[in-house]
């Protein structure tokens, strides 16, 4: 493969991976394997490296592709394995023990307690960060 085609392929993978990830976020398989985009950046960086090695004339596109994909690889790896990590501190939840009761306001301002549902129906509690 020529250097030019390697550069194009490298950039297509590097830019396509995050877009694909964002579009398919609803699929648990994609959502729960965020390391997939890091792997894609690594493949793109390897292809850009090959492009650099094969470039005869006009070397700057392959060097630019290598720089970009390397930055994405470092940034993506940092985000996935450092930035997005949540400290593994123990929770107050034990299977088989009673869930701590609480009362909170819902969006309409009515108050809701976990105890309201006792003897009525099971509850799925979803804690989420909220701003995205």
């Amino acid at each position: 493969m020529t250097s030019t085609w390697l550069v194009i392929l490298s950039l297509a993978i590097a830019l396509g991976a995050p877009v694909t990830y964002a579009l398919l976020l609803r699929m648990p398989l994609v959502r729960n394997h965020p390391e997939g985009y890091v792997v894609a950046f690594a493949v793109a960086a390897v292809l850009a490296g090959l492009a650099v090695a094969r470039a005869r004339t006009r070397r700057w596109p392959s060097w630019a592709a290598l720089a970009l994909t390397s930055l994405l690889l470092i940034g993506g790896a940092w985000f996935n394995w450092v930035g997005a990590q949540v400290p593994r501190t123990p929770t107050a939840l034990r299977v088989g023990e009673r869930a701590p009761d609480f009362t909170l306001a819902d969006a309409a301002g009515r108050s809701a307690s976990l105890a309201d549902y006792r003897g009525q129906k099971p509850v799925v509690l979803i804690f989420y960060r909220g701003y995205w």
Binding site: N32, V86, T91, R98, D106, P122, V124, F127
Partner: protein
């Protein structure tokens, strides 16, 4: 939003099975509730402004927010009719959520 969509596809089936889904976040949740109602998801969004409930559950990620504020750790808890915890999933990477199929299985196993 991604969060909501994830839950959405997931739990409408559980909803039909007679389960209450309480989504707890520090947001005021009016927009979330409107969105969910629009999608007929019938979640009940609860506002845990000061993270009091997240704290009681041991689900606070200190300074984990974009501006260094405390945020909840993403978690899903299945509580049975008697108020007893039957299934817990706490994520160690905030991009990752439990597979909705797993949550459904936990609910059906009650």
């Amino acid at each position: 939003m991604a969060e909501l969509q994830g839950l959405g596809a997931a739990l409408s089936e559980a909803e039909r099975a007679g389960v209450e889904i309480l989504a707890v976040s520090p947001d005021p949740n009016e927009r979330s509730q409107k969105l969910a109602d629009g999608l007929r998801l019938r979640y009940r969004f609860l506002s845990d402004r000061d993270l009091a409930v997240a704290r009681r559950y041991g689900l606070v990620h200190p300074r984990g927010g974009p501006n260094g504020e405390d945020v909840p750790r993403p978690a899903t808890v299945v509580v049975d009719r008697d108020g007893v915890v039957r299934w817990v999933s706490v994520s160690n990477n905030f991009q990752v959520r439990p597979d909705p199929a797993e949550v459904l299985r936990a609910v059906r196993a009650l």
